[in-house]
């Protein structure tokens, strides 16, 4: 029903700017969540550094890793981990390339529903695809557009991702938390892009 996510995004931004919410109101476009999505959708690309801490039962101290996240609308996502061991996850559409220990594997994301939950949450948020998020997750919004928190709980039963929590300020996502069963979780802090 739409003609490409970027054009849709542009249209939404235009609607917001003009304050013409009549047509969009049917889709609940005037909520802060919808406005956040429109803001995110307006961005064609993005690059941030991340520092991730993983907590799990049995770990005496959290595990730390760091690297770079790159996004390009609508479907390209790269997660390049640099420390402690280099590994790359590169996603194009549904094709996931995993590079680790000098091996490259190509897998279809749809065959790995658990990873897909995490990857879809991240990608759909970055692309501002609110409707797609609401199809797969129960979305809970807290705060204001300047200071927000978004909790995504998978609708599909039995997913190993219990929930994903994002927090940020306007179009800048600051933290991303992934909750796994038995209290295990990863907290990712996103910072400005590396000085290249």
């Amino acid at each position: 029903m739409t003609s490409g996510p970027s054009r849709k995004a542009a249209a939404l931004v235009a609607l917001l700017a003009l304050g013409l919410t009549g047509a969009a109101a049917r889709a609940g476009a005037d909520t802060p969540f919808a406005r956040l999505m429109a803001l995110l959708a307006a961005r064609e690309r993005g690059e941030v550094t991340f520092v991730a801490r993983t907590y799990a039962a049995g770990l005496t101290r959290p595990l730390e890793s760091s690297g770079v996240l790159r996004y390009r609308a609508p479907d390209h996502l790269e997660q390049r981990t640099l420390k402690p061991a280099p590994s790359d996850l590169i996603l194009d559409g549904e094709r996931l390339t995993v590079r680790r220990d000098g091996h490259t594997r190509h897998v279809d994301l749809r065959n790995y529903p658990d990873i897909a939950v995490y990857v879809d949450a991240l990608r759909d948020t970055l692309a501002g695809r609110g409707a797609a998020l609401e199809r797969r997750f129960t979305v809970r919004w807290r705060g204001t557009l300047d200071h927000w928190q978004l909790t995504l709980t998978p609708i599909r039963a039995g997913a190993s991702v219990r929930r994903i929590r994002l927090a940020g300020e306007a179009a800048d996502i600051r933290t991303l938390e992934i909750f796994a069963p038995h209290g295990a979780r990863t907290v990712m802090r996103l910072g400005p892009p590396p000085a290249a």
Binding site: F50, A52, T54, A56, A57, G58, L59, T60, R61, P62, L63, E64, S65, Q79, T81, P84, A85, S87, L89, R100, R105, D108, R110, N111, D114, I115, Y118, V119, S160, V161, L176, I178, A180, P181, H182, A184, R185, T186, M188
Partner: protein
Amino acid sequence: MSSRAAALWVWAVLAGLAALLVARARYSADLSAFLPRAPSASERLLVEQLRNGIASRLLIAAIGGADAATRARLSRSLARALRADGSFAAVENGSAATQRRDGAFLFAHRYVLSPAVTPQSFRVAGLRTSIEHTLALLAAPGGVLAAPALSHDPTGEMLALAGALDRSRPPRRAGGVWVSRQGHQALLLLRTRAAGSDTDAQQRAIGAIRTAFDHAAAAQRAHATLQLTGPGVFAVAARARIKREVVRLSLLSGLLILTLLALAYRSLAALGLALVPVASGALAGVAAVALRFGVVQGVTLGFGVTLIGEAVDYSIYLFVQSRTAAAGTAVDWRASAWPTVRLGMLTSVCGFAALVPSAFPGLAQLGWYSLTGVLAAGLVTRFVLPHLLPRRFAVRDLRPIGARAARVLRPSNAARVLLALVALAAVAVLYTHRGHLWNRQLAALSPVPRAAQRLDARLRGALGAPEGRDLVVIGAPSRQAALQGAEQAGAALDGLLARGVLGGYQSPALYLPSRALQRRRRQALPPPRVLRRRLARALVGLPLSPADLAPFVQAVARARTAAPITRADLAGTSFAAAVDGLLVREGPGWDALLPLQRPRAGPIDLTRVRAALALSAPAHATVLDLKRQANALYGTYLGEAVRDSLAGLALIVVLLLATLRSPVRVLRVVAPLALAVLTVSAALVLCGARLTLLHVIGMLLIVAVGSNYALFFEQGTLEPTLTLASLLLANAATVLGFGVLAFSSVPVLRDLGETVAPGALLALLFAALLARQPPARAAG
């Protein structure tokens, strides 16, 4: 008239017996017409794989139309229905339940299944390396999803196992079932219990799939479509197609020939009588094949037309030439023309006899069928048909037609020169095309349409199902030895996989390691006390406490003392079907099959595979390239057909030499036939055809049929005009019969038709133009 009664009685009894044999014979339309009768050891493997191998039993069902959710539901209900059906050994649709059972099996037996389990990997350094690796994975974003398994599997055995089993590209999944690459079709992989060569059983299995699908679609009110592919589907479709075409074409050519004869004879009795030798020949031919081979190939019946072509000639000669004697008795024909017809018949018999010893059942049956059929038709024409003729039997006088033809077909020096030029041109064409004269692909004979072959390739690719093309076969005296052989071969294949020679492979030993390997892996696992001590040292400085790894120590302790995995433990998983398909009883021993997948770059370099296996696999490992080896086999047959045909030609020359007692006369008979064969071959090549086995058989038939014409011209008769008329009529019947075949969609029938129809015409034309003296002058 007692001799008359005796002849009729003998004929009736023999015909009755033949009819009985024909009615009770078994008919088949599978690949076996194209497989050798007495294979060598390596051919045995090839034939076994083609007929009964795992690839021959695989069917792929693709559900299209409707929406994705409906297709997934249909896939599930179809799978449920087919699992309850006894025809299928395995029904896979990528369902979540099977995936869960697969995962549970792998997890429960990870320490005997994982190739990473060695004594080193459970010493302090090995433990530390693998635990550090697991922690690094866990630290990466998204890695946290593996955290719950940490205390059970800190060494990452499940990951190693997944890597080992991921040797083949897994199919795409959507909505909990397998789907095609584009996602527009839900896919099911089915393995029949019956061999692929058991066409009846395949037909029943296909019927069961269609019925189950129709029920499922009706229950869900879904407008969905079902596509099926696989060797069984091809075999069933081919049989139906051959059956349909044989009936249709035989009827059509029979009708055309009958119309021709009706126009020529203007007598209903003559028409009926003309069928007597044809029917007798066909009956005798089929009965003889049934007696000698047990099974009658559908393709052989397709050649029934060849018999109509030749057998109808005999009665034409009898009827038309009988006018010689004004009184209308046939006695004169028996004295005047029968010796020539008999010689023609014997040359045909010689030609076909050369095919009978062929190792290619298709050829041998064709030879035997034609030989006995022609003989029977000839004998019936000579000894039975004259007795059946009514007292005042006479067909229309065809002399005017003969006379008109004689004026056109006048031998002359100009004609001879022209024919010499034609011969030269034909030789030149064949010489310039000598590099690509022959089609050496077995597929050239395949009745499977291109579109169906493409669909099959696409669905197979999507499922990562064995393409059934490249295969390592390990022969061993026992099940365990076969598994050990598969493990050794697997080690060699792993090396090739790492170097990109292979895209992947499957092996039964991945899911069911040999007892010896299971024992070695269990022995590599330290007892709990030792493992705890080693863990304590390995974890120094790592963010893991030994106390939290108690589940790991318990799991290793359980694995050390567990009973070995057997086939029964695989029940309910998708691995059961894989093992059953890849580990098969073969005579007194067992074969382990390792289907190979091509790398992305292109075909597999089989010489490297053979070299690697020769180094590491002591068991009897044979690398089969089914397609190439089948083509090689076909190439052998092609060569054999050419040799047999030449032998047949030599036999014919010897027969003619013995009868005519003059090399010049023999040359005069053979020259027009050779010229016809050359011209037709050159014309086919010019039209872009690559010659197949059936073209060669067609050439033999040109010689067999054409020899009658050439002999009549060479021998000369009392009534040349009438003889020419009978030859024209006989020729027209042959051209009609084979001309119809040329329009068949079954390649073997088409190749034959497009060779013999023009060839027979040219044989008559050339024989007339090269005759010793103008027939017209002799008549006047």
